[in-house]
């Protein structure tokens, strides 16, 4: 019998390849782990449709389980679609401490409506969006008007 709790713990502890301070569990992309005979089936939600990190995360999860002696298979779960609301409170704090403003508000992209994004360095909400898209599909680029810190913001979807 596979220890599913242990498998879930190992899978959840795998770091994100682009933002290594947060883990699979922090991002809320681990749906569940089920047994298929002697194989642990890890069910993961992709973040963005075309994000290159999706495959990297799947391979890393499978490899870390294999290293722990647990044969695993990854299943991609599309529905319900992942939302930034699933990022845990701990994950949000880790992002902020790393210098990335965590997502705020719900997952609605309304024309011209922009929620106030707090600067991860000084906490000021006097921030400007510099670029709608950033270095990865999940981020936008901002700048703080008070402390002049340029920073990434994890977009809400």
């Amino acid at each position: 019998m596979i220890d599913l709790d242990r498998a879930a713990e190992i899978a959840g502890a795998v770091p994100d390849p682009e933002i290594p301070v947060v883990t699979v569990a922090d991002l809320g992309i681990l749906r569940d782990v089920v047994a298929d005979g002697d194989i642990a089936v890890v069910r993961l939600s992709p973040t963005y449709s075309g994000c290159p990190a999706v495959l990297a995360i799947e391979l890393a999860v499978e490899a870390s389980l294999r290293d722990a002696g647990i044969p695993a298979r990854i299943e991609r779960v599309m529905a319900p679609a992942w939302t930034t609301d699933w990022i845990t409170a701990g994950g949000r704090e880790k992002l902020r401490a790393y210098g990335i403003a965590p997502p705020v508000g719900g997952g609605k992209a309304v024309l011209f409506a922009a929620a106030a994004v707090a600067c991860p360095r000084c906490g000021s909400k006097a921030t400007d969006r510099v670029s709608e898209f950033g270095s990865t599909p999940c981020k936008a680029h901002y700048c703080c008007r008070d402390c002049r810190e340029p920073f990434d913001h994890f977009k809400c979807i």
Binding site: Y48, S49, V77, M78, A79, A109, E132, G134
Partner: protein, 247 residues
Amino acid sequence: MMHEALLEIADDCLVLGHRLSEWCGHAPMLEEDLALPNMALDLIGVARGLYARAGELEDAGRGEDDLAYFRGEREFRNCLLVERPNEDFAQTMLRQLYFAAFMEPFWRAASASSDEVVHGIAGKAAKEVAYHIRHTGEWVIRMGDGTVESAARMARAVDALHRYTGELFESSPAARAAEAAGVLPVREEMRGDWDRVIGMIFTEARLVLPEDTHMHSGGRAGLHGEDLGHILAEMQSVARAHPGAVW
């Protein structure tokens, strides 16, 4: 039949994704050099999921690479709008807005698809494409209500592209079969949402919505402009030079 309806949408996303990626390294500013390939990535991600599903439904042993790289021009089912050349930044942004304003309500409605895979893809794509509307809508307004030069370019873009928007709302026989089976929403039903979003943005942008435009179509039947052949020649060249190669 069902796989052909999915191929139409997959081809739309792949061809437009390729068009956007042509801007990579050439965009008018660094922020747009990030934005355009980011939107391309979303579209190509959606295309991959749809090709894989179409291949399964076709059940003839073709996977996503076979469908993307080893079909000829007449076998592509994309609408004509997405193959239109980038030209300038105004045309690129307007083309994207026209497409996104259609796909956003389409994907929202498709989240109720009777096909589990389409249902999953739709939920994710609807959120991504809403972001595309916001980004491109802001640019269309900024340029339309901008300088004399930018306003003239936006007006030229409307003149060049509006005639390709009618095809978005047409359902081919394959699409009608998928609609009847509850796999895809009825294209014509997106008109209300599309008119509302485009109307709102055009008003802000001080652009005039053309009336009684003659609408071109034919893409769903494989009848394309010469531009598609050039896209495929470039996009498929590596796969055709090294058939079967994987990484």
